[in-house]
Symmetry: C2
Subunit: 461 residues, 2 copies
């Protein structure tokens, strides 16, 4: 990939020796990275933004996190908490320099209590790895982000992530019971409750969910899990337009069809995936990927057949026996597009499902009027689309204007500027558009937990 | 019921004429109540607490709510938002006098968009009424509080209510997409998003959910709904002890059984319900009420049969064909106990399900050592128990000590002081015990939205 570096880029400012000395009093020196080649992997995420931190600290205990934050607070050093760095918004890029706290070494599953359908993990546990453990016991942790093979639970909680099964299982917020959070001043808070539900006071837990590392650092996460389905039925439904696909999806929702996946992909996305994976998608204008899940093969199958009958706009309906390959291919949408084009600008708007057809029409209009190619795919059942602008060296500015227009249209349709990726630096300029007067209260909230503004500065609000 | 009035009771302080004049400029005079007999119905909730407000205002528009709050803010008049007044914590009792804002006239379903499985209601819509409308379209709004026949959606959101179907559907928090909130200064905020999920900034919406009217007043609530199950299978499982019942429930959870209801009731609760309703429960030490739901009769039935096989401690297993009567009887637990005894003190602790058996043992020990009768029932699948202390004129102080001991034990077991009823005035003294350092941040949060402290003063924190 040929990166276009823009907007955010600071020079590498090495720390004064005294800073390193101070940190090395609280964390083993081998886990303090300060050499440029070691720092580069921590300078980026899945966007084009690149900034090199002054140091990377890799704690292995809660106590180390506490002590690191105390020093950072005292010295007013910017702190960027980091999981796998899969963010699509620049959220894990250290745009103001300072330190990156790499949380991937805090990666143990602390306990699992299946009688309570609850478990505790450290933030660095990888999503797919957790599910491998759970599968052994017949349980499942929703809802499968595209980056599930590598992304961490901490990062998912920090962005209120969802994924391809969100239409049935919803976002991660619904599954987080409790968090241990280290505030920038080093204070340790326990928010939420290990019990399955609580009405005890203000929902601080929910304030930290989706806070993108701007309020504190998670050191323990308690999650609710659900029984793992045993059967799946999967189909590819082809359409001659994205609008048709979205209209049929709206009908499926209205008819109460119990889908566990409802993904939409346009022709450009399909072609690109076909180029870079072994899976050959049909050459059509739009595809809905539908799946039902459950514990009775007959029922799962019956529900899917019911769904397919409702798809009155479909031009072709095809049952798939290769669901695992299919979902792997679907998750390859973003990486395939990234290989295909010098660079990308991925959006993440969400609207009520009844408005999706209007939104895809707007996307096509924007693509035509700004003369920029857009590949659109997303978790349509949750109303989320990822219109991805294909960039070359020349059209980034145009793409930015086109994306702004798209966001404006999504908000007009009652939507949000980010369905699942979060704000980071990419969406920050649009916060006022979506939230209006509420933004002022978000800023006050930030100030409660991080009064000196060291936590992931330049992100969210 | 013979009320024991205690702890909170202020004299009726009529407003100065000028206050009434000022309110009558923004709300029709017929909807301002100031005569003592009219005020009495707004002086209480389902607890023993009684305090008479100076006036009750009954707005019918958002604009009226805004203008009322502006006046209250200017004059520093305490404001208590009120739905159906079914609170079990004193949350809707005007303990500092001032005005009660009765929101039951704001009771329209504004729109329903089934393509997006989303709808908008005013706060005064009654839970069961909403579900009647939804049933016509094949949808359902979870999760059935005991007071569902009368309680309002606004009150449910204000307490993060759950109910008998929480074990499958979770608390109301998971279903609230967006809120229109009027802050005490009259500012109108839109928090959350009409799209099914969003990762846009800090979760202000979730701060308002469960805030018990202490931060602002909801004037519109957007909710997610789910397809309505078509089949149910129901059973009564008898045990010779509450501990046995809770141990078997923990096994059901561990085995991944997909229950839609898992309620537990002890012998005293069962006897009392049998006295005041037409339903005769078996005369046993403990009963688990189990239900499965779904869309295939065979599967729903199969899952319940699987559940019953796992109940190895059961002394009797009985399938029920009269589920509606059964759930009506279950919901009559609290009202029956209220008829049976001069007064009640109802607790609402929740613990991880694996700890329920230990908790019921502690309850029995507390009952014995404090020499006070306790009737225990609750949404065991969610880990929620409502140990209810039976009061007479003499034992309130003992009951308070016993309840404090119970709360202490629940917290030691990793639990919460309130699973679903909220804090109100009843649980306020225990907030520090559960939340420790977090309580300070909750107070700062309150101060952001209600700096002059007029919103439901004396509640939550």
């Amino acid at each position: 990939m040929n990166f276009i570096i823009l907007f955010y880029h600071i020079e590498f400012i090495p720390f004064h020796h005294s800073y390193i000395m101070e940190f090395s009093r609280v964390i083993e020196k081998s886990r303090i990275l300060t050499d440029l080649p070691e720092l580069i992997p921590f300078s980026y995420d899945a966007t084009r933004h690149r900034c090199i931190p002054s140091a990377v600290l890799r704690p292995v205990t809660k106590k180390e996190v506490v002590e690191i934050l105390k020093i950072a607070s005292k010295k007013r050093i910017p702190v960027v908490p980091r999981g796998a760095g899969t963010s699509l918004t620049g959220a894990s890029v250290p745009v103001k320099g300072g330190i990156v706290i790499d949380l991937t070494l805090l990666s143990s599953i602390k306990w699992m209590d299946f009688e309570s359908r609850c478990l505790a993990v450290e933030p660095g546990v990888v999503y797919d790895e957790l599910n491998k453990e759970l599968a052994k016991e017949g349980f499942y942790f929703p809802s499968e982000p595209g980056s599930g093979k590598v992304c961490t639970i901490g990062g998912m909680v920090a962005t209120n992530a969802t994924g391809i099964r969100g239409v049935k299982y919803g976002p991660i917020r619904d599954y987080v019971l409790s968090l241990e959070v280290i505030l920038p001043n080093g204070e340790v808070l326990r928010v939420g409750s290990p019990s399955r539900t609580s009405s005890s006071g203000y929902a601080l837990k929910d304030v930290f969910i989706g806070s993108e590392g701007t309020l504190g650092i998670f050191t323990e996460i308690l999650l609710r899990v659900v029984p793992r389905p045993e059967f799946y039925a999967t189909a590819l439904v082809s359409f001659s337009s994205m609008e048709d696909a979205c209209r049929d999806l709206a009908s499926l929702m209205k008819e109460g069809i119990r889908l566990s996946v409802a993904e939409v992909l346009d022709s450009l996305t399909l072609e690109t995936i076909s180029m870079y994976t072994k899976l050959r998608f049909p050459k059509v204008k739009a595809l809905l990927l539908l799946e039902t899940d459950g514990w009775e093969e007959r029922e799962v199958d019956k529900e899917l057949r019911k769904a397919l009958k409702i798809c009155s706009n479909a031009i072709k309906v095809e049952r798939s026996k290769y669901r695992e390959k299919l979902w792997e291919a679907r998750k390859a949408a973003f990486p395939s597009l990234a290989k295909y084009t010098p660079s990308l600008l991925t959006e993440d708007v969400a609207v009520p499902v009844s408005k999706l057809a209007e939104l895809v029409k707007k996307i096509e209009e924007i693509s035509a009027s700004y003369k920029i190619r857009v590949a659109t795919f997303g978790h349509a059942g949750e109303g989320i689309l990822h219109p991805t602008f294909l960039l070359d060296e020349k059209n980034l500015k145009i793409a930015r204007s086109a994306a702004a227009k798209l966001i404006d249209e999504a908000i007009k349709l009652g939507g949000t500027i980010t369905g699942e990726h979060g704000i980071g630096i990419e969406k920050r300029d649009f916060m006022g558009m979506e939230h209006g007067r509420s933004l002022r209260y978000m800023k006050m909230l930030k100030n409660i937990f991080d009064p000196s503004g060291i936590m992931n500065p330049g992100k969210v609000c």
